[in-house]
């Protein structure tokens, strides 16, 4: 079944024809060429595919593109203001060496931003570790990821984003 979908992705209105079974992550990567959103496990566990749908973090490999029809989607590509100015959370990952191979990083950053906002910019190491249960880093680089998110929370608050 082919259906037309239309949504806002990173502030731009996009539309396309998809099969009912097309996953949101496929639509983003294959139709829109936004390959920053990764597919790691494809079984809803690893979190590399996390994007925001109407401001809420979701696993885009476990959502149909048609379910996001009319929604406001933000991917990792939509965070930075410019090539020179990263989002404070991205900057915190860079500063704290919060990545090794980098494959899980887009999902980590997207989950982190939702988590920080949900906790009103006040996060502890414990909150971050619990909040990252849906994101897996196969380099096992969690320590610096957690450090980055705690630092990123303060930076987001200071920057008012």
């Amino acid at each position: 079944m082919t259906m037309s979908v239309s949504m806002s992705v990173n502030g731009k209105t996009v539309s396309g024809n998809v099969e009912a079974r097309t996953l949101l992550v496929q639509f983003l990567r294959e139709n829109l060429g936004l390959t920053g959103t990764h597919v790691g496990c494809d079984t809803s566990q690893c979190g590399a595919c996390v994007v925001h749908v109407d401001g809420i973090s979701v696993k885009s490999c476990t959502l149909l593109a048609v379910q996001a029809d009319g929604a406001k989607v933000t991917t990792i590509e939509g965070l930075a203001k410019s090539a020179e100015q990263l989002h404070p959370m991205q900057e915190a990952f860079r500063e704290n060496h919060g990545l090794q191979c980098g494959f899980c990083t887009p999902g980590m950053v997207m989950s982190a931003i939702d988590l920080v906002k949900r906790h009103n910019y006040e996060v502890t190491e414990e909150i971050v570790r619990h909040g990252l249960e849906g994101n897996i880093c196969r380099c096992t680089g969690y320590h610096n990821i957690v450090k980055a998110i705690v630092a990123g929370a303060s930076a987001m608050k200071a920057a008012g984003v």
Binding site: M1, M3, E19, A20, R21, L23, D42, T43, S44, Q45, G47, V50, I56, S57, V58, K59, T62, L63, L64, V66, Q67, S111, D114, L115, R118, G131, E133, G134, N135
Partner: protein
């Protein structure tokens, strides 16, 4: 994933009508189980009927001693609800520990209960608190609802609209989560209800079940020691690569003890 026809009805009546028209239709709530199942080609429905646009099915209402949660209310909403945390703190805590953050942002209480996954968390709360499941056709008592592995009292075309939980004077849920999936290897919900103590177990059997012996022991003496001596038989319990039936039987007693201690 095999392709299907997709519908997004605005009302329960339209959803039921869409299912009746389909040759082999399936309702989808949050999709946190259905979509992974479709991706693995373990199901091939002709039509998927998305309940996500039916606004009437969402929301939380506390009325006296009853907490009523709309079927399409997400786990994250229950977890963050100050009203639920005040009325039945154990229920808010259970919701806060289902799956992971992103699953909680999509997964719904109605979907979880209708699916009756043997390792889902909500069924233990539904059964232990003696909740009432309201559908588009009738009200079903928790004790009559869970029938077996992915099997409930729901009939074809019947949709859960809300679930009403009576408050309890004491309640707690303890689970031993699978370290990878966060599903309950075993979870035990204990509650001191108006009709006495109730103990419900998830993860261990084909579906959530009560442990009468533990309830009797708690009626005499509400303390962790009261349940420490009660062992459930391993016969018929779930066994898989994560744990044998004997291991799960042992966990039931351990989690029950911890739950009673946490309930105070």
């Amino acid at each position: 994933m095999y392709d299907f026809e997709y519908h997004k009805p605005k009302s329960v009546a339209d959803a039921v009508a869409a299912l009746k028209k389909a040759s082999d239709g399936k309702f989808m709530a949050g999709g946190m189980t259905l979509i992974p199942t479709l991706k693995q080609r373990l199901a091939q429905p002709s039509d998927v009927i998305d309940l996500g646009a039916i606004g009437d099915l969402r929301g939380i209402k506390v009325d006296g001693n009853t907490v009523t949660i709309g079927a399409m209310t997400k786990h994250a909403e229950v977890a963050a609800s100050a009203e639920v945390a005040k009325a039945i703190p154990a229920l808010a805590k259970l919701a806060a520990n289902i799956g992971d953050g992103q699953v909680r942002n999509r997964g719904t209480i109605g979907g979880s209960v209708a699916n009756s996954d043997p390792a889902a968390d909500y069924p233990a709360a539904v059964l232990a608190l003696g909740a009432t499941i309201t559908t588009n056709e009738r009200k079903i008592a928790a004790d009559d609802f869970f029938k077996g592995l992915f099997e409930t009292a729901l009939k074809e075309g019947e949709i859960i609209t809300s679930i009403s939980f009576p408050t309890a004077t004491k309640a707690a849920y303890m689970k031993f989560p699978n370290p990878a999936s966060r599903y309950a290897m075993v979870g035990v919900f204990v509650a001191q209800t108006a009709s006495g103590p109730r103990v419900a177990v998830t993860g261990a059997g084909a579906c959530a079940f009560r442990v009468k012996e533990m309830e009797d022991a708690l009626a005499k003496n509400w303390s962790p020691d009261a349940v420490a001596g009660v062992k459930v038989p391993a016969d018929g319990l779930n066994g898989d690569i994560h744990g044998s039936p004997e291991y799960r039987a042992h966990l039931v007693t351990v989690m029950a003890k911890r739950a009673v201690a946490a309930a105070g």
